[in-house]
Structure formats: structure tokens, C-alpha cells
């Protein structure tokens, strides 16, 4: 049982406030992703749970225990970092054994050997066991890091951007492996990243952090389809949600030169910000919208069009077979039921307000 609960956490470093009144619950066995930019407080949150950092106020509990006063060693969590988490003087085996040989733990040599072998097999690094850490590739290093985390069989895994230093292909394959590992181990994972693709593809739940505040917590679908505000809307999706200022009246979105329909239940009146995902914009001859194509990104499966519409710039995802050219003027509409309305001032999602 390893439910993590942070309540009322505040943390400042000198004048800068790293975390403001943070409340967060990660359920037992959940794969929770904290998403945020550099300096949003993701790493600080993780370090508080690990016991490497003490909150100014608030409490941390893991399982049934308030661990606020516990040292890192007592908390029985495992930590995987982006880099520098392997000891350079040891072999891979030495690194894997290191947590098991900690003075407080009494493992027999046979037990240690068995656990190391098992972790190595799980991560397919058996052939690397006797190699020096300096001679590993980036991907191998991260595998060993993860291995060092799993040998102890802790109930909580904390991962601080473990894939960020790797190249794209490796990142993808390790993403899949991490998810598999999570389902095999059944442990609680807290994964910190600035990469929304990682967040969306791995998380059971995502928490979006901004300037030390937790903005929204939800499943990837929640976050993607029902963002709490324009910040979350722009945080996920690639390209992110289009935000267009306009006026809402009588079930129509007035975007200046033309009008597009919105769903009847759309909230708000007057000046609002409309949000529409790139894949929900549709090119169609005779549609009311008009824009000029500024750039075309061919991604194989789809094309991403960057279109100029007056002052606004619109990203649109269209099937790869669509024939368009730069500077071509196209007509478009959108899926009315997918339009999200935000308060123009606060950026809050009017449907959730």
C-alpha cells in the first residue's frame, strides 16, 4: 500500500517560491505524471517525496505513514534521475548491488545475487553486468538506473525526467518498457517530465504544474479534451490547441471576418477565447472560414498546416493525402462540438467554471 499524499506544501528558496500550497494525491499503483516546464516545481515535488528536501510547511505521507520527519533512507522509495545516478567507479553489478548493500539492509549474498540477476534479466542488461559504467551508452545507463531502482523492490518509484537525455527512438522504446514494468511491478510510479508526449502516452493520470501550483489533475483524456484553462490547453498536444479570440453569440463564434457554429451547450457570452484542437479543424470547399497557408509540415501519416487567419495563426492536422500548397487560400470549418470556450481575461474553461 503506497498511496502518496502531499498536503499544503509550501517551499521557498530565498525569495523565489518553488511550491505554493501544493496538494496532491497519487493512488496506490498509479502511474502519475507531473508535467510542467523548467522551474515549475516538478523536481522539487519529487525531492520532497524522496526526502531530499524538506517542505517549509505541509506534510508528506506515503502509505499510512506521515513521513515528513523521515530521512530519505527510511522512506523506502527509489529514485531514477536524468543522469549522474550511477556510481562511476563501480561496474553495472556494483551499481545494482549498491542499494542492497546499504548498512540498514540485511540481505544475504545469495539474495543479493538473485535479485541483481532478476533485475538484469527484466531489463535485458545481463550481458552488461561486469562492464564499467563509463563504458555504457546513454540508453544502457538509464536501464541500469532503473535496474538499481527495482532491485530493492520499493513500493514507490520516483523518476525525474529519466528519458530526457536519450535520443527519440530510444525514448520511445523505453517508454513502452517502463509502462510494462509498471504493470508487472504494480508499484506506484511518479514520473516527472516536461515532455507532453511522455505525459500523455504513459500516465494513468497527469498533474500539470505551473509556477509551483498544481493547475489540473486528470486522466490524459481529461487533460486533453477538457483543459481547465488555456495554459493546460497549450501544455498538451502537438501542435497544441489553437486559441482564437472572438465573440460568442447565439450559438455562433464570430471570428471577425466570418462566423463558425459552436455546440448549443457552449458556455459564455460576448468576448471569449475559442479553443480548437488541430485535428478538429476541417478543410472543406465552401466552408465559412478562410485562411492562407503559411507553411506545410509533412509528417508522413498526417500533414500539419500552419495557416494565417488575419492576426491569428492556426495549426491544422490534415490527412497526408490532402493536396495544398503554400500561400494557397483555403476554406475551413471546425467540429462544433469540440470547440472549447475560455474566459478571455482569466483563461479559465467556461464549461468547467
Amino acid at each position: 500500500m503506497a498511496r502518496i499524499e502531499l498536503s499544503g506544501i509550501n517551499k521557498s528558496y530565498g525569495a523565489s517560491r518553488a511550491l505554493r500550497d501544493l496538494n496532491l494525491v497519487v493512488e496506490d499503483g498509479e502511474f502519475f505524471v507531473l508535467l510542467g516546464r523548467t522551474g515549475a516545481g516538478k523536481t522539487t515535488t519529487l525531492r520532497m517525496i524522496a526526502g531530499l528536501e524538506k517542505p517549509d510547511t505541509g506534510s508528506v505521507s506515503i502509505g499510512d505513514h506521515d513521513v515528513s520527519g523521515w530521512t530519505a533512507a527510511e522512506r523506502d522509495v527509489a529514485l531514477v534521475l536524468q543522469q549522474y545516478s550511477l556510481y562511476p567507479r563501480l561496474t553495472v553489478r556494483g551499481n545494482l548491488e549498491f542499494p542492497l548493500r546499504a548498512p540498514g539492509r540485511k540481505f544475504s549474498d545469495a539474495e543479493i545475487k538473485a535479485r541483481v540477476e532478476k533485475a538484469a534479466t527484466t531489463l535485458q542488461i545481463t550481458h552488461l553486468l561486469d562492464r564499467k559504467v563509463e563504458r555504457l551508452s546513454g540508453g544502457e545507463m538509464q536501464r541500469v538506473s532503473i535496474g538499481r531502482a527495482i532491485v530493492r523492490q520499493p513500493s514507490v518509484f520516483l523518476m525525474d525526467e529519466p528519458l530526457s537525455a536519450l535520443d527519440a527512438k530510444l525514448r520511445e522504446s523505453l517508454r513502452v518498457e517502463l509502462k510494462k514494468l509498471h504493470s508487472d511491478l504494480g508499484a506506484t510510479f511518479l514520473f516527472v517530465t516536461h515532455d507532453q508526449v511522455e505525459a500523455m502516452s504513459m500516465g494513468d493520470k497527469i498533474g500539470v504544474l505551473r509556477q509551483g501550483r498544481l493547475v489540473q489533475v486528470g486522466t490524459p483524456a481529461d487533460i486533453y479534451e477538457r483543459p481547465l484553462n488555456t495554459f493546460v490547453a497549450r501544455s498538451v498536444g502537438s501542435p497544441p490547441m489553437n486559441l482564437i479570440d472572438g465573440r460568442l453569440s447565439g450559438g455562433m463564434a464570430d471570428l471577425g471576418k466570418f462566423q463558425l457554429p459552436v455546440a448549443a451547450n457552449a458556455r459564455g457570452e460576448g468576448a471569449v477565447t475559442f479553443g480548437i484542437r488541430p485535428e478538429n479543424v476541417v478543410l472543406a470547399p465552401g466552408a465559412p472560414g478562410e485562411a492562407r497557408i503559411f507553411d506545410i509540415e509533412d509528417q508522413g501519416v498526417v500533414k500539419i498546416l500552419v495557416m494565417d487567419m488575419g492576426d491569428a495563426r492556426l495549426h491544422v492536422t490534415v490527412p497526408a493525402g490532402t493536396h495544398v500548397q503554400r500561400d494557397e487560400v483555403v476554406r475551413f470549418g471546425w467540429k462544433a462540438d469540440r470547440v472549447v470556450t475560455f474566459d478571455k481575461e482569466s483563461g479559465a474553461n467556461l464549461a468547467l467554471g
Binding site: A50, G51, L52, T71, A72, A73, R75, V77, A78, L79, L81, Q83, Y84, S85, L86, Y87, P88, R89, F98, P99, A102, P103, G104, R105, R148, R152
Partner: protein, 320 residues
């Protein structure tokens, strides 16, 4: 893959080798001279031009460690034959060993004791300065110390005065508290000299060790102290070696305070060597042998730590 060098690089490399050789000759000549003189018979020590080829003798060393007096008439053969080899060397130079009137034992010159004093004081003060410096540097590097910058400046400021400026107050204080002419007194003094240096150098080295290593160990179940011992110390070894060599050299070579703060009991070797110049007719071979022996510990210490020093002397400027 073979490294391809352009013509310009080859010329540059050769020029660099020549430059290094010239520098080496300039720097090593005095050391060679001292070394050669230490093994010369007295009559060859001051020839002009200098004698380069000669039959080496240990007689300067025999003289170095004993108190001697000039022989008025040559020693008789039976006494000569019965004397140990080192005493024969002294007789060869026209001198005899001064003997204790009661016990008949040869009187020591005191150089051996002073040498031992130098070793004791330098080794212990180096050990203290480096170990305290490393721990202090670790604290400054890893924890938020209130007023950290001020403290570090304060520590450094102890090096801003030429040490000799405080010699008189130190002398008076030492005499008042009974530290005058004691090993402990010199050890405290040299540790204090070297500590600020050790803190600053070690802080540079420890700052370069990613704290992630220790944090991983902390999470893995190690205490701060265990993480320090298992992770930080091995990583900092290079810096520790470099710092230790510098501290040892400073303590080993220190002259002014050793001269003022000590006399019979705790005096180190540096003040002894010049005291032999000009007492009567200077025997340069004895002075050279004293200086030669004095060179050895630093040379050996540096040689033993050379692998660490190659990386350490760049003060952590070369990253892995």
C-alpha cells in the same frame, strides 16, 4: 584511426618539446648541483670550473649527522681500523667525532632530530588541514550555510596578510600559553596556514562532483556520512591528493616561524641548514647533503601521488 597531423602541428610539437627541455634544464640544474655536491669530497666542492665527474662519497652525510672537531695530528692506524665506516670517512676529511666524555658515544649534530621534527609536524599538519578542509568544503558545497559567501571570504582573508606580520604577537602568545618550542605549537600553526587553502581548493573539487551521486545513495538507504565516505571521498581523491601535496610542501618548507617559534626541542630542518653556513669555514658538502635529504620527502610524496596530481593540478578545470 590514425591521427593525421599537418606540417604546422609537427613543427609546433617539436618546438614545444625543445621548450620543455630548456625549461627542465633550467629548473633541474640547481637540484643536480645540490645532489652532486652532497656526494663530493670536500676538496672538490668549490673547484672552478665545477667538477662533474668524481668518485662519490658518503662522507658529507657522515659529517651531517655528527658533531666534529678538527684533528690536530693524523689519527693512529689502530684507532682508524677499529672505527666504523662513517667515522673513517670523517677521519679521512681530517676531522674527528666529538664524543660524550662519560659514555664515549658520538655526539649527534641534531640534524636527525630536526628532520624527524619536520616529518612529524608536516605530516600531522597536512593530515589535519586536508581532512578538516575537505569536511568544511563539503559542508559549504552541499548545504545552505547562512552567510556562506562571508564565511568563505573570511576563511580566505586569513591568507591576505604575509604570515610574518603576525609573528611577534604569535610568539608572545605561544610563550604565554606554553606552546613555544613544542611540536603541537608548530602543528597548530601550519594547520592554520593550510586550512584556508585546503577549504578553497577542496570546495572547487567537491562542487564538481554531481550531488546526484550522493542523493541516489541517500535514497538507496545510506546515511549522509556513509554516502560521503562511499561516494564523495573516492571521487574527491584527486583533489585531496593535490591539496595534500601543496599543504605538505608549505609545511615542509616553512622557515620563518620555525626559526622564531622553536629552538632545541621542536625545531625543524629548514632553520638548521643555513645555521651551518658561516660557522667557521663552511663545509658546502655537508650543507648540500642536508639540503639533498631535505628534498627527498617532497619528491617521494609527489611521485607517489603523481597520477592524481596530473588531473588534480588543473584544479578541476578538465571535466570528464
Amino acid at each position: 584511426m590514425a591521427e593525421v597531423k599537418t606540417k604546422g602541428e609537427v613543427i609546433f610539437n617539436r618546438a614545444a618539446i625543445v621548450a620543455v627541455l630548456i625549461a627542465l634544464v633550467i629548473m633541474l640544474t640547481p637540484i643536480f648541483w645540490i645532489g652532486a655536491t652532497a656526494f663530493k669530497p670536500r676538496n672538490l666542492a668549490t673547484t672552478a670550473p665545477p667538477t662533474v665527474f668524481f668518485e662519490p662519497t658518503l662522507s658529507p652525510f657522515a659529517k651531517l649527522f655528527t658533531k666534529r672537531s678538527q684533528l690536530r695530528e693524523p689519527v693512529d692506524e689502530a684507532t682508524y681500523a677499529a672505527a666504523p665506516w662513517w667515522e673513517q670517512l670523517i677521519y679521512d676529511g681530517g676531522e674527528s667525532v666529538v664524543r660524550n666524555k662519560k659514555t664515549g658515544e658520538a655526539t649527534s649534530s641534531g640534524y636527525g632530530n630536526r628532520y624527524m621534527n619536520s616529518l612529524i609536524v608536516s605530516i600531522i599538519s597536512t593530515f589535519l588541514a586536508v581532512s578538516m578542509g575537505t569536511i568544511t568544503a563539503y559542508g559549504f558545497s552541499r548545504f545552505r550555510v547562512p552567510g556562506e559567501q562571508d564565511w568563505l571570504f573570511f576563511i580566505l582573508s586569513t591568507r591576505m596578510l604575509p604570515p610574518i606580520v603576525v609573528a611577534i604577537p604569535m610568539f608572545l602568545m605561544y610563550r604565554a600559553v606554553g606552546l613555544y618550542d613544542t611540536h603541537v605549537g608548530l602543528i597548530i600553526l601550519y594547520t592554520a596556514f593550510n586550512l584556508s587553502f585546503a577549504v578553497w581548493i577542496m570546495k572547487g573539487f567537491i562542487d564538481e562532483i554531481p550531488r546526484e551521486y550522493e542523493e541516489a545513495a541517500l535514497v538507496d538507504g545510506y546515511t549522509r556520512l556513509q554516502a560521503f565516505r562511499k561516494i564523495v571521498l573516492p571521487e574527491a581523491l584527486t583533489g585531496i591528493a593535490a591539496t595534500a601535496v601543496f599543504c605538505f610542501i608549505t609545511a615542509w618548507n616553512e622557515y620563518a616561524f620555525a626559526l622564531m617559534m622553536t629552538s632545541r626541542n621542536a625545531q625543524t630542518a629548514p632553520p638548521y641548514i643555513p645555521s651551518q653556513v658561516g660557522s667557521g669555514l663552511s663545509d658546502w658538502t655537508v650543507i648540500a647533503s642536508g639540503a639533498f635529504l631535505f628534498l627527498l620527502p617532497v619528491a617521494i610524496f609527489t611521485f607517489l601521488l603523481r597520477n592524481h596530481l596530473l588531473r588534480g593540478m588543473s584544479f578541476g578545470a578538465i571535466r570528464k
